[in-house]
């Protein structure tokens, strides 16, 4: 089976390796080049381009890179590797050959899935290990790593969970629909839906911690590794203040300069009204809990789709 799996899927395996190598080179290049470039240009005028554009470009690269790793990789694995796995055999009639040898169809399928899933999982692990140092190199330009879902999904154990989930979803639709193009469509739809829901609901996986804004913004370093959920104002009775226009004239909130926060005219104005600025957030040490909760949800879904695929394969008609 090892040879058969290699023989039938070597094109995808080589394509995947190529893509992987390309991604690695891009990460390495951007990580090593971007700081050097910034250092060379300093805070002075960026050569040839205006600085805002360049900063946006780097932001985009960071977000795009993370998004590519965490979403496009699984989409490719699910749609190009998983979805045709059974369907293409049925479309070409070769399932009548493959499934009438001495190996039952489910053993045939899961041996293949195992042999293909293993390198896919390893690719996920390596991806996480590549993205983490890359991000820490360029994070000065990027904002909040735990906060950024794209980055979050591209590190830790999540690349593995996403990739394996995508493969099994593809296999399920392949076995259930048995036509490659519809199976691809269904796979992409389910993956997009899952990723969307997980991304949208991630911040509410746990109850956030609430602290005064002053405390949150002045804790050196913490804003970088937290998930910021909400920033709002409450009055002395604990009611949400929706209209803070009374303090609009005071000054712009200078959130980034922690040292000057206490002296901020806005804060003084709030104190006069008996209001308090509060922030809901998830502290940095929740990173692994969030990772494991998300991975657990994905693993559970993976299990469901795998059971569905086993049952779909048993169907003989």
């Amino acid at each position: 089976m090892v040879w058969i799996t290699w023989r039938q899927h070597r094109a995808f395996i080589l394509f995947g390796l190529g893509l992987f190598a390309l991604g690695g080179i891009l990460l390495f290049w951007s990580a090593s080049d971007a700081p050097r470039y910034l250092a060379a240009s300093g805070n002075g005028p960026c050569p040839g381009r205006d600085c805002a554009w360049f900063a946006n470009f780097l932001q985009g690269l960071v977000r795009g890179g993370a998004g590519l790793v965490s979403y496009v990789g699984p989409l490719i694995v699910g749609a190009v590797l998983g979805a045709p796995l059974v369907a293409r055999e049925v479309e070409r009639g070769t399932h009548r050959v493959a499934w009438t040898q001495s190996v039952s169809r489910n053993r045939w399928l899961w041996t293949k899935v195992g042999l293909l899933g293993l390198p896919v999982a390893v690719a996920g692990l390596v991806t996480a290990q590549m993205v983490a140092p890359w991000f820490s190199t360029v994070k000065g330009m990027s904002g909040r790593p735990f906060q950024d879902v794209g980055y979050f999904n591209a590190t830790g154990v999540l690349p593995v969970a996403f990739l394996v989930f995508a493969l099994i979803v593809g296999v399920f639709f392949s076995a259930a629909i048995r036509r490659a193009i519809p199976a691809m469509g269904a796979t992409v739809a389910v993956l997009a839906l899952t990723f969307g829901v997980l991304t949208e609901t991630r911040d509410s996986l746990m109850k956030p911690v609430t602290v005064p804004g002053r405390e949150y913004y002045s804790t050196a370093g913490s804003p970088v590794n937290t998930i910021w959920v909400a920033d709002y104002v409450r009055d002395a009775a604990g009611r949400r203040v929706t209209n803070t226009s009374a303090c609009d004239g005071a000054a712009v909130v200078v959130q980034e300069r922690a040292a000057t926060w206490d002296a901020s005219p806005t804060e003084e104005c709030y104190a006069k009204h008996g209001w308090q600025n509060l922030v809901d957030y998830h502290p940095a040490d929740r990173y692994w809990r969030f990772q494991l909760i998300t991975a657990g949800i994905l693993a559970g879904l993976t299990g469901l789709f795998a059971v569905g695929a086993v049952l779909a394969m048993r169907r003989r008609d």
Partner: protein
């Protein structure tokens, strides 16, 4: 509706090991039944032809025997093992599908390796010897071989598995006449060497007589007749005589078909020896006429 004639004597059939035993078999696709109420025994060691027009259910029956389909009703057993026990049944059968589906990008050598990897009982020496004997180039992709060569490679994989029951769905269809003779001859040689049981379907009646020793006639999803070829042939007669006495003669026999032209009536009957009176003639039907008579009978219903 007459019950299908099973000419093999019942006690004998029970003792004889059955390569394939089909009991009360039915297969429904959505609303239409492809097979219904089929009872059938393919004796071990026989070469059995499965005959019937297109759409009779031949392919369905073969795919049910090849564990590719599950019966809607009844059961299919391979040497006593139900096809539901797929791990036990699969190693005993080999199947050549009608479209001779192969991995067209595989070379001949790779196709043989495919067979080796998936079959513990694979006979690599035999497979390579057969391919060499047929002069098939090992490094040629299957997609670039001729239809006859491709069938030969597929057949080699089927035989190399060393099955006990070989299931062939229209193995000679879509081959040119020369390839047809070659494939049939090399298949029969392999069958004689190994003594395996063969069940093959065909809608070409003329080809049958030389190759098979058992016959199953399938029409409209039902078994019309099954049994030893010689017995089948020796028990089907064409009786011709006057229309005045045809009712009298017909009453004494199991009538397969009945036609008349002018004053002359023709009956096809099933009987060890026909009982006819004066003015009537009896002759044995040939295989071809018999199959045609059986298939026509169905359409008259």
């Amino acid at each position: 509706m007459t019950s299908p004639a099973n000419l093999a004597a019942a006690p004998q059939a029970a003792q004889q090991p059955a390569a394939l035993r089909v009991t009360g078999l039915g297969k429904r696709f959505r609303r239409t039944w492809a097979l219904r109420d089929c009872d059938l025994v393919v004796p071990a060691g026989s070469v059995t032809a499965l005959v019937g027009p297109n759409g009779a259910g031949k392919s369905t029956l073969l795919q049910l025997a090849a564990c590719l389909m599950r019966p809607t009703t009844g059961s299919v057993e391979i040497f006593g093992t139900p096809t539901d026990a797929i791990d036990a049944a699969l190693p005993r059968i080999a199947f050549l599908p009608q479209d001779k589906a192969v991995y067209r990008r595989f070379t001949v050598a790779e196709t043989l390796r495919f067979g080796r990897e998936l079959n513990p009982g694979w006979d690599d020496e035999f497979a390579h010897a057969r391919v060499a004997e047929l002069g098939l180039p090992l490094d040629q992709r299957l997609g670039r071989l001729s239809g006859g060569q491709r069938t030969q490679v597929a057949l080699t994989v089927a035989l190399g598995k060393r099955p006990d029951l070989l299931l062939l769905d229209e193995p000679l269809a879509d081959l040119d006449p020369v390839a047809r003779v070659d494939v049939a001859a090399s298949l029969m040689t392999s069958v004689l060497e190994t003594g395996l049981t063969v069940l093959y379907s065909s809608h070409l009646v003329a080809e049958l007589a030389r190759a098979c020793d058992h016959l199953v006639v399938l029409n409209d999803g039902r078994v019309q007749l099954s049994g030893d070829l010689d017995e089948v042939i020796s028990q089907h007669w064409r009786l011709t005589g006057s229309v005045d006495t045809v009712d009298e003669v017909a009453a004494r026999h199991e009538v397969v078909s009945r036609t008349s032209a002018g004053r002359q009536a023709t009956l096809v009957v099933r009987a060890p020896r026909p009982e006819i009176g004066a003015g009537w003639e009896a002759e044995l039907l040939g295989l071809e006429d018999l199959v045609i008579a059986l298939l026509r009978k169905k359409t008259e219903h």
